[in-house]
Amino acid sequence: MPINVKSAGLATTIQDLGRPGYYHLGIPVGGAMDRLALRAANMLVGNDEGAACLEAVFMGPELEFTEDTQIAVTGAELPPKIDGEARETWTTLSVRKGQVLSFDYLRAGARAYIAVAGGIDTAANLGSRSTYAIGALGGIDGRAIQPGDAIPVGRDFRNVAEGTSVPRNLRRMPGNPAELRVLPGLYVHRVTEESLDRFFSDSWKVASEADRMGYRFQGGSPIEFVDREPPFGAGSDPSNITDACYPYGSIQIPSGTEPIILHRDAVSGGGYFMVGTVISADMDLIGQLQPHTETRFVRVNMHTALSARRVRAATLDSIRQTFA
């Protein structure tokens, strides 16, 4: 059963849980920016948790269904409409052949996940259907969806009762101000202690350059660097390093002005120092930040990072229990 794309939204891409294993060649893992929301969307329509969905950012697409099926929309509060009638997010919805799914304007968050029973069934590259536009991998011809596309859908799914929904307390979204927990490290020694304290106490705002590759922030104090003799190969700017790998979630601050957090479509390396890394438990939250959102970076240690990871895993388990 194909889904016909009538309008595409802003940058709606096909995403699953990504293609790990190729980062050493500059091919990032990719996949849903908010992985918890993607998994929940799939559970709501009886798919495997890692099935491919549509990731819509800020604005939803318009989709026509060519068979009766079930769908779910999770993540951002981007209210779905079926043939113009308002429906619930985070809920199993039935659609009939010929009906059109459209969306109201965005109320909260940034990225919505649209799951269809059977999962999107485009060809996989390197084990994933995730769209990575820079490398022309996954999706439809390696790009975002376009009007006129017919998106193929698989046939394998379990039955879930219409109206099933994920309890509100399990729908994880950033607060206001958003708080992102950061483990300092990497090249943090390049920054003076006072400057690092300011980095963590300042209030930052998400800049307009915020996409699947990375999120830029503005509004905090410029970084003060510890003096040094530039190492051979690094470059003369105090924020330069000999080009190295970038961890997912790492925070680089080119020229010490605007921090950039690398996300699922990260560039795998480069020549800018990094002050630390957003912990794995909070990566999903970044995908739900809108431009101008006030954000605080919260300093944590490894113990807290691992506890937070367990809390996130427990939330996922609780969502699974909803369907048990």
Binding site: D243, I279, S280
Partner: protein
Amino acid sequence: MSSRYTFGGDEHIFVEVSEEMSLEAFFKALSMTNAVRDADIKGVTEICPANASFQIKFDPDVIHPDDLMNELKRMEEIADKAEAVLNTRIIEIPVYYQDPWTHETLMRFRERHQDPNATDIEYAARINGYDSVDDFVTAHSASPWFVSMVGFVSGLPFLYQMVDRDRQIQVPKYLRPRTDTPKLTVGYGGCFSCIYSVRGAGGYQMFGITPMPIYDPEQKVNYLKDFLVFFKPGDIVKWKPITREEYDKNLSEVEANTFAPRIREVVFSLDEFNRDIDGTNAKLLEVLNAD
């Protein structure tokens, strides 16, 4: 050379072998990543060698970050004892220096450049003390280069010049990165050359372009059928300056899918290289150019 170990959040360990670039640091990073791969440690999911550092991604649900850190520190002792010898390949990459496409692009971004009145290669030649662009092209293309890292985006190689430090070319990156770079541009930043595998943003100076594809997501190019990325760390590259006519000829071969890069197997020993740089390079080029 004692390495610096640090966590990149709860899923990465970052190891800086040396702050500054050197072939010794590259070899040690490569040999440590090989040791990690051979050790087949449960929970390790990605092993990423870089120029003078490397990164390991892991699943902290499988191995505790502190335990993996200790394992890696043990690997350093193994790497320190390892002989710096590499079975690798040398590849000839044709380069059309000062081509019209990178020229058109660099002219669009002059206001982001250190020297708006010169081209990228004129600027690079001048600040490295060469009298002419031709002399600079000779310096860039005469000796071989090591692929010291693959990454940034889709199979992009960083290359390190195999000459002593006094002769190494150094050029700063653009003041502000461009929003566009032609696909297959041969670039330069810091002490590294690169080949832009795909079109996109970039901050490296642009010297020329190669007709030879190095990344093919469709895997149709005859030498990229087995894998979509051409380069791997440890490859040795020799740039071959070509004319417009040769470029057009190569390009038509690429389009007919008959282009075959010149590739030869070689053994590289770091000690031998350090004892006699020019002699070792001459031997490498002899292997490349034989038959």
